[in-house]
Symmetry: C2
Subunit: 185 residues, 2 copies
DNA sequence: AGGCAATTTGAGTGATCACTCAATAGCCTA
DNA sequence: TAGGCTATTGAGTGATCACTCAAATTGCCT
């Protein structure tokens, strides 16, 4: 997964996969049917992990808004363990996919929609808990939040762990927490 | 430029370039020295066009903040003339470049920094004109604005010309205009 | 220990990759 | 029209691409 994430679909060769999986080409094609199918499987795993992490994070915190804000902040702190795995793999996939890779692009869009829905549910929960006013529109907030997260992760890709990046993450995080209606912090 | 923009560096083959440029491989390598050099030239052209467009837009409007806000709105309205040319080419380049394409990634980062500076200058101008309070930090606002623009353009790539997209652009635009200190509209 | 099915192997497939260069064509001056 | 110089051509280079398959190996049940 890390390999595909780093290099993308086209730039990852079978030889790369052989080394990473420690499998010969025949075994790879016996297990998966094509490079594309393997990529789709990888993408699914990535999506599920991200979705589950988001859910778990939202459930662990008593304040959904605080959880979302901290989630943003977490991207600014990560150090350089994995070089090019900072941007979201779904976004990378969407941008890298050409017209021929229609199946891949479509699937990436599908997962992104699912992520939007996850975020929307968290804002919905915040509303139920009274953290957000009745007038709040969870769908719209979710879209905005996801946009922020996308941009932040790309920025992380651009120049990781700089003070400016931390400031940007903090700006975004406070924007989320600033919507809270009661019990400050 | 459009070709490289759509398909990216790796996915664009020499054959594609031959067709697009109406040149045989020998001529291409006589004019430019390598595929990479050609890509870098393309990237430079893209950057200059974007930079100039931004400058012109800022100079044409009496209100820098209004200009920036309208610029965001403009991305939500574009129809499907060019399929995959919605996301910023600099961002696509940055995300697509692998470790081997270091020169390309470095150049993309350089241009992105230059764009940040352009935006910062516009916020600075807004501050000079009194549209922004003395306490405003143009550099920070520029980074935030660029992040918004990046995310918005990627969102355009995800699903173009939907009401949700227009709403997102409007949210971002109003956030910019909402910072104005005087002469409403 | 022996036999059988399932799996792994890795050399090999044609296609395509970025790229080269000797041959050709085009053009200007005389 | 002849000579000379530059620009273009396109078949060809070795490398690498995703992918295949007959043969060898493995693991499992008796």
């Amino acid at each position: 997964m890390t390999l595909f994430w780093r290099k993308g679909f086209h730039a990852t060769s079978l030889k790369d996969l052989e080394n990473a999986l420690n499998m010969k080409p025949g075994s790879i094609y016996a297990a998966f049917n094509s490079k594309e199918a393997l990529y789709l499987a990888t993408l699914e795993r990535y999506f599920e992990r991200n979705r589950d992490a988001l859910r778990q994070m939202a459930e662990a915190s008593p304040s959904p808004l605080k959880a979302l804000a901290d989630h943003l902040r977490s991207f600014a702190g990560e150090d350089g363990a994995k070089p090019a795995c900072r941007a979201c793999m779904l976004i990378k996939t969407l941008l890298t996919a050409t017209e021929e890779d229609d199946a891949i692009a479509t699937q990436a869009r599908h997962y992104l929609d699912a992520m939007t829905e996850e975020i929307r549910a968290i804002f919905e929960k915040a509303k139920t808990l009274g953290e957000l006013p009745e007038s709040a529109d969870p769908a719209r907030l979710a879209q905005r939040y996801q946009a922020d997260m996308t941009a932040l992760r790309i920025e992380t890709h651009r120049a990781p762990a700089t003070p400016a990046l931390k400031a940007l993450a903090e700006d975004m995080a406070q924007e989320v927490e600033g919507m809270r209606t009661w019990h400050a912090a």
